[in-house]
Symmetry: C2
Subunit: 108 residues, 2 copies
DNA sequence: CGGTATCCAATTTGATACTG
DNA sequence: CAGTATCAAATTGGATACCG
């Protein structure tokens, strides 16, 4: 949000702006988990290995602010909150899948 | 290197292992800079906005250890060091370009 | 030029406890 | 369940000094 911007031309910083949106340590894993459909907070917490509550909240807020996920609250008892990818978020699916394939082939 | 591994199944952690390789704050920007060919250390320092020497060294070492870049030293005066993408690294080109296009369309 | 080493400040992340 | 609050630990950033 209020991060220091690139000092030089905006052109050269595009990638870093993008990474500010989806380059967080956990963002891609969360997006990946959401490819299979809408998920509750606790489901994401289980699906994204090693993440903790604070970081999941933080990343989800960032992603929501950047229009990648939608947060829906249901006034049930106990409360239910569901997260879904937006169209913009779903456009990342082929890219992340390719990255995943790259990793499976080359990383391990 | 000696980061704590995922505790549960390896399957679910693949993405996070991949991000450990290319998900660093600067890795993709460095790789992006190397798409246009081999670069000297100081060129990279100029091409990757806002990075500092320490982090550039650190990321390059990590990338070299993971077989993404090759480091070549030439015993000239003053010394010359050049970094090049490996085949493995170049395979990331279409993926990062797609990511870039996604960002241009949706972020900037 | 291409680093390494060091010190310190700032930011980010992790772990745990707690709440509507 | 879905978070918030808080503090500790780790990482990063910045400046400076030094070296082969």
């Amino acid at each position: 949000m209020d991060k220091k911007k690139c000092s030089s031309s905006k052109e050269k910083c595009a990638l870093q702006e993008i990474l500010g949106v989806i380059g967080g340590k956990w963002s891609m894993s969360i997006i990946y988990a959401l490819f299979t459909g809408k998920k509750r907070f606790s489901e994401l917490e289980r699906m994204v290995p090693n993440i903790n509550t604070r970081m999941l909240v933080k990343e989800l807020k960032n992603m929501e602010a950047n229009g990648i996920v939608v947060r829906e609250v249901f006034a049930t008892v106990p409360p239910t909150v569901e997260y879904t990818l937006t169209t913009k978020g779903r456009k990342l699916e082929p890219i992340i899948n390719e990255l995943y394939k790259w990793g499976v082939e080359y990383v391990g």
